[in-house]
């Protein structure tokens, strides 16, 4: 229970910080300008540090995980996506993982199914919930471009139109809002409903979920219920997008809570499990082609050995060898 309550309280306290700061401290400038830039800087530098660090790590062995037939003799059917033999197919495999979560599609769950026998079964709900969560979050983030750009590019406008195509409620109801909320709820309940998951889950698993949940709930509430005047919000977003430092006009405190939690999330990404958004591309078990039989994988740890040939040896000792009566190859 402590593992759940601690992150929950952390998110509540984090949400109260801007509320106190804006209501009692009049710290609009801090929360609107200073903290967003600081968070963005932490995100960019932190991710750069992480990724550069990982890119510089040597990969001593060719260790792709495979679950298909490797490229072999011509008459043996290969599975190029599950066992990529060239960098292109390896890239395809990484992208299919990024966009479709293929490894989660194989997710199984162990259960004591009516007796002492442990039964493993396919469990696709995690795949579906994760996919729904990530995609709706991506679309929601892209949709926010309407605040940061003067004119919306056509693709984003089409995406937004598709998202609101149900055309219910005013302001128009976005489908991804509901999907994101439902998916977050499922992902929390998934960890809470199962004993094994409760043991495995750490407070760092719950914290991002609660943080995302709070951000989504406040954002949705600002759109549909406790509305905020959007004009100064847009002005602030444009200011931030142009790296300006103008103080914002007064905005409702709910907006500042939303913004502050987003800043916390951005700054939290490089130092948490959320860094998987960059790490997935650098995982050697996934991004290497399985071609160790066709191509030699050179271990970068191999020391630079100085070889000395016999010819060099003989060059050095030829005269001495001749004196001693030893045979030499070159006179």
């Amino acid at each position: 229970m402590k593992k759940v309550l601690k992150p929950l309280i952390a998110v509540i306290v984090l949400a109260l910080i801007p509320w106190v700061g804006i209501t009692y401290g009049k710290l609009d400038y801090l929360f609107a300008i200073v903290i967003p830039y600081a968070a963005a800087a932490i995100l960019v530098l932190g991710m750069l540090f992480r990724l550069v660090d990982w890119i510089r790590r040597p990969v001593p062995f060719n260790i792709p995980t495979t679950c298909g037939q490797e490229q072999s003799l011509d008459w043996i059917k290969t599975n190029p996506l599950e066992c990529p033999s060239n960098p292109f197919m390896a890239a395809m495999r990484v992208l299919s993982e990024v966009f479709l979560f293929r490894s989660l599609f194989r997710n199984t769950r162990a259960e004591l199914y009516g007796g002492p026998k442990l039964v493993y079964g396919s469990y696709k709900w995690l795949w579906l919930g994760g996919l729904a969560f990530h995609w709706s979050m991506l679309i929601i983030v892209i949709r926010h471009a309407r605040f940061f750009l003067d004119t919306l590019p056509l693709p984003i406008e089409l995406l937004e139109t598709a998202d609101r195509f149900l055309d219910v409620t005013v302001p128009a109801f976005y489908i991804t809002d509901a999907i994101a909320l439902a998916a977050i709820t499922f992902l929390v309940l998934r960890r809470l409903s199962d004993e094994k998951m409760r043991i495995l889950s750490l407070s760092t698993d719950y914290f991002p979920l609660f943080l995302f949940g709070a951000i989504a709930v406040i954002g949705i509430s600002m759109r549909y219920v406790t509305k905020v005047n959007v004009m100064p919000v847009k002005a602030l977003a444009i200011t931030l997008a142009h790296f300006g430092f103008d103080a914002p006009e007064p905005i409702g405190v709910l907006f500042y809570i939303h913004l502050f939690l987003v800043c916390v999330l951005l700054a939290y990404i490089p130092f948490s499990k959320l860094v998987h958004m960059g790490g997935i591309f650098l995982s050697p078990t996934r991004n290497l082609p399985n071609n160790s039989r066709a191509k030699r994988h050179k271990n970068p740890w191999n020391p630079d050995i100085k070889f000395r040939t016999y010819a060099e040896y003989e060059d050095e000792f030829r005269e001495k060898m001749k004196k001693a009566g030893l045979p030499v190859e070159k006179q």
Binding site: W125, A178, A182, F186, L189, D194, I220, V225, M231
Partner: protein, 141 residues
């Protein structure tokens, strides 16, 4: 917990979220009339029983700050009330009567043909009002 009951729990959780979201969203429409106007019995009675002709007021129906954030919900509620329920009179907290019509707004705000568009363009908002209604830009001044 077996698989089926787990499935049921997941289903119930998902449904409850959707139902909650639905109420959440629809709760917003009550905001089109301020809460204190609804609880006050005198004003509530006046809303039910239309009291006289719409007032051509120089003042806006509700405070500017409220209108800036909530005008779309006010208009949406007005449309439902007037078109579907036949209730065409809005009484604001001060007791002033207004016709629930876009023309009530445009009586003052129509003088600037760009009044609606300035903000909507700026905030990249595409309201569906002008699918049916003539926009201030299209009305000859």
């Amino acid at each position: 917990m077996n698989k089926f009951s787990q499935f049921l729990v997941a289903l119930a959780a998902g449904l409850s979220v959707f139902v909650a979201a639905w109420f959440f969203i629809h709760a917003g429409h009550r905001g089109s009339v301020p809460a204190h106007a609804e609880v006050s019995p005198a004003v509530a009675a006046a809303t039910v029983k239309p009291g006289g002709a719409p007032v051509d007021s120089a003042k806006c129906i509700l405070p500017t700050d409220y209108m800036r954030a909530h005008h779309m919900q006010v208009l949406d509620k007005w449309r439902k009330d007037s078109v579907r329920k036949g209730n065409r009179t809005f009484v604001n907290p001060e007791g002033a009567h207004f016709d629930k019509s876009l023309n009530t707004c445009l009586g003052c705000h129509g003088s600037n043909p760009m009044f609606c568009f300035m903000c909507h363009e700026y905030a990249n908002v595409k309201p569906t009002c002008w699918n049916c209604h003539l926009s201030p830009m299209e009305v000859s001044q």
